[in-house]
Symmetry: C2
Subunit: 210 residues, 2 copies
Amino acid sequence: MAKKKLIKAEDASTEEKIKAAARDVFHKKGYAATRTRDIAEKAGINLALLNYYFRSKEKLFDIIMLETVFEFMQSMALVMNDNKSSLEKKVELITFNYIDFITREPNIPIFMLSEIRNNADGLMEKLPIRQLVLNSIFFKQHQEAVVKGKIAEPDPLHFLMNILGLIVFPFIAKPLFKGIGGLNENQFNKLMQERKKLVPVWIKAMIKVK
Amino acid sequence: MAKKKLIKAEDASTEEKIKAAARDVFHKKGYAATRTRDIAEKAGINLALLNYYFRSKEKLFDIIMLETVFEFMQSMALVMNDNKSSLEKKVELITFNYIDFITREPNIPIFMLSEIRNNADGLMEKLPIRQLVLNSIFFKQHQEAVVKGKIAEPDPLHFLMNILGLIVFPFIAKPLFKGIGGLNENQFNKLMQERKKLVPVWIKAMIKVK
DNA sequence: AAATAAATTAAACAAATGATTAATTAACAC
DNA sequence: GTGTTAATTAATCATTTGTTTAATTTATTT
């Protein structure tokens, strides 16, 4: 068995190679469609090393899943709790950050949403995502704006759905939109870059009407 | 081998039972995570009958996939080609129809988008979805409104992304939003019903700004 | 350098899974 | 009713796939 205390910094590379490969394959194909042999091959390691370092496919997956969710929430959490910026500015930042993030990691949204749906052992219950949102400055600023009559729709969930829907959905349905628009990857990405400016403007316009 | 010509209407029930079960399981778990034994059990039939009627898991899946995509596009196509209604009214109809449809069949969006991503043998290329949109009255009305200066953003793809993003995304990310809002199924569905009125209003507001 | 522990490998195992076979039952034609 | 075809079943096959084992190589310690 591997004893962590004895693993030196340099030796960690094998473990890291496996994790990097697992990340790629899990993100692209999901848990069920992923073969441990795919991961081993992509990592350039012997199949047995996967179990040597991570015990099982499921344990390895849990690690990847946790890190992925964390990664995805981090940038959002950072912006939402910034105490310098206005709500409007936060919408701009979230839009900008997420469009860049998903352009870099286009498989993450649908991976997360698919696997969360298949339960993933009640991941949603274990994460403090509700507290994170409720305690955020973003949330308080929204509440405040509602009270002041600056935002017509009072439910912050609608607000979140709108922002994320406008940002994330085009990526999730990318093959569909590429098909409809007859776009290649570059043209699609250009459209997404345009949305960095457009989405905040649209959100601002939506906010005011009832 | 099964000879179709000899299958009477009443006998079709076995074939239909298999298809109904396959639909359920494929929609809920996706191709890779579905076991043919799950389908057989759910259909209440002997496992061998699945291959007797449909040759293979993959062939059965292709049938379900095709029917699902068709079902999903049909209501949209109908609305988009109605020559009585204005563009504004079409947005209302699409919103209303899709929110009801997805509430009834909540697994379909993420099923379709997941499986399309895993290729599904280039389904996107085979479907005439691009032609369907380009030739639609919906598309022409949008073009016209752009020319007349009624719509600021000229790209119809952005317009489609916005409508579908606002409608479909909340369902795809349902576990997330239920978690954040602390909602049960009923409360979530109530929110979605609210959006039937809200989304068209929001879209209208977005249209005008640049 | 010898001894010990860790890392790596090839081979094999056991369970799961899609598919097939051969036998049986039910339906239908004449 | 008899014979023929279709439908159904239980059993089995052949692969795939996650995991383990036992041996070997590499690294570390003393």
